[in-house]
Amino acid sequence: MAAATLPAWLALQPAARTLRAFCTAVSPATRSAIPSPRTAGRTSRYERPLRRKALPPRTEKMTVDLDWPSVYPVAAPFKPSAVPLPVRMGYPVKRGVPMAKEGNLELLKIPNFLHLTPVAIKKHCEALKDFCTEWPAALDSDEKCEKHFPIEIDTADYVSAGPSIRNPKARVVTLRVKLSSLNLDDHAKKKLIKLVGERYCKTTDVLTIRTDRCPLKRQNYDYAIYLLTVLYHESWKTEEWEKEKTEADMEEYIWKNSPSEKNILETLLQIKTAEKDLEVNKEELLGTKEVEDYKKCVVSLKNEGDNEETLSQYKESVKKLLKLM
């Protein structure tokens, strides 16, 4: 009997819905009138408000070329019925697959950027264009930008939903400048690099100063500029105690007055005395081609470290120098 009544009840449903569309207050009488063909054993069900049958999800009506920013115009949580992708997320049970998107809490928890597709961003840019000025026509290449504006400042602004617009992270200011665009001579450059230490990158020749010690962004910016100015001027000055720079402080190997030079000079002098060739002087000895070659090899060996190439070059030059075949 239950099976017989069920289709009748279902057939009555559309009528019930239209009925409800007209009258806002659905009286229990009307409600109870409809399921009258039902048996008395189902009384507990009448207290529950009638549930509409679930509509088919919106995804089924979506075409391929629909206007996506209208589906997600703002940041919204993940709606499985509105996103047509068969996304799965979650740790699978044994021999199972990750959970599907319907009713998936994991997909809800994570932030999604469905409101920021490239199409949406393009629309944003179009809208913002009215508020922008034009890029200066003269600065059409990277080199020109670097030449005229060598200092680059990076700042970050943070917006979040909350009672306050302040964010302590927003005070950080990063100043980047290439040392080649600064007017520094050799001594000044070495001194500057020693002064800044870790903040200089040798491969890209970029000095990066990151300031966050002041509470406001403007103050940090001023401080960064001040630091740059001070560094520049200080590195041009030469202090008294800089004369005591020892070999251990040197950044790279300098041949002049090095032990290597002395050794080679002594050796050559001894060779000359052995050959009874007494009228030589140091400059002459040091000026010969073999010694030049040797000097280059030693410098490259010390600066670049050992590898097969430098070592074999060094070997050849020593052989030539000592006239060994």
Partner: protein
């Protein structure tokens, strides 16, 4: 063929090298091989053979063309662990011994900078430290090696050892060596005297001097020796090291200096280090500059073949598959043609 001279006994490096080499003339076909390990195939094979390899040949070529009026040239053998530097050094020593040079061989300089007992303040110079045990061992070896020269060379100065003993000017060098061996307290000073005399006299041309030091990077590294007050000893405070450093300087002529770098046994150096600058450090490099670096590398295919052949001939390899092509390829792959590694592998077979 005469067996060569007995060069050294009782050190971990080459044991008695009664070499079966033919004339050490250039002979690219490598001969048999010898190993310097605790297994001591010398006793097993009852002979010690060296493989003639390129680095040694190169060195010998230079040696033959040296001009003894020029200051001594320094050759540094370097290479990865187990490639054969020590044995190339031995080959050179053997060649020079055959040619009647005076050999000054330090089998392992690392032994002088670690685990020494009985450091004494030096009798000659108060700031330095003596090592009587090592010095006396070295003197004994020196005596066995160069018996012939000990009576020939005369000291040029008077050396006073203590109130009762002194060596007069003009007495043979053998006396100094004896003094060092008998009176162990003066052994280090005896070594210093020997080195100084040899350096001075080799320039006169009476003999040719070969200075061969294995593990020369020990002279400029750190030591693990401590004084009584637990302060670390720097290498230059050891009298032996100080004298040896003077010896490897090239301010004398009439001979050559052949050196090897060694990571095994070196202190505070990473295992993979084998390049000259890494092992010698700045000080060592500056002291040895200019030198000729000679790379000793792993076996070439031909050398590998001949090594395997030698093992097979002497029935060192007992595994059935050892003489098959497959077996050889496997050994080649496992050892990567590294002589030391190959020897250790074959020891198991």
């Amino acid at each position: 063929m005469d067996p060569g001279r007995l060069l050294h006994t009782g050190s971990q490096a080459p044991q008695s090298l009664a070499a079966h080499l033919d004339n050490p003339a250039p002979d690219d076909s490598p001969r048999a091989v010898s190993r310097t390990s605790e297994k001591d195939p010398v006793k097993t094979f009852s002979e010690a053979c060296l493989m003639v390899r390129k680095p040694a040949l190169e060195l010998l070529h230079y040696l033959k063309n040296t001009n003894f009026a020029h200051p001594a040239v320094r050759y540094v053998l370097y290479g990865e662990k187990g490639t054969g530097k020590t044995l190339s050094l031995c080959h050179v020593i053997h060649f020079c011994a055959k040619q009647d040079w005076l050999i000054l061989h330090v089998p392992d300089a690392h032994l002088w900078v670690k685990s020494c007992r009985g450091l004494l303040p030096s009798t000659y110079n108060k700031q330095r430290l003596d090592q009587p045990a090592e010095a006396s061992i070295w003197l004994k070896n020196f005596k066995t090696t160069n018996e012939r020269f000990l009576s020939q060379i005369k000291v040029q100065e008077k050396y006073v050892w203590n109130k009762r003993e002194s060596t007069e000017k003009g007495s043979p060098l053998g006396e100094v060596v004896e003094q060092g061996i008998t009176r162990v307290k003066n052994a280090t000073d005896a070594v210093g005297v020997v080195l100084r005399e040899l350096k001075g006299q080799s320039s006169l041309g009476g003999f040719r001097l070969l200075v061969a030091v294995d593990g020369v990077n020990a002279l400029w590294g750190k030591t693990t020796l401590k004084r009584e007050d637990k302060s670390l000893v720097a290498p230059e405070e050891l009298a032996l090291v100080h004298n040896l450093r003077k010896m490897v300087k090239n301010d004398w002529h009439g001979g050559t200096i052949v050196l090897t770098l060694s990571q095994t046994g070196s202190l505070f150096k990473p295992r993979k280090a084998y390049l000259p600058q890494e092992l010698l450090g700045k000080e060592g490099f500056d002291a040895l500059d200019p030198f000729i670096p000679i790379l000793v590398s792993n076996y070439s295919p031909k050398e590998f073949e001949s090594c395997i052949q030698y093992y097979l001939e002497n029935s060192w390899l007992q595994h059935e598959k050892a003489h098959t092509e497959e077996g050889k390829k496997e050994l080649l792959f496992l050892s990567n043609a590294n002589p030391g590694q190959l020897e250790r592998l074959c020891a198991h077979l």
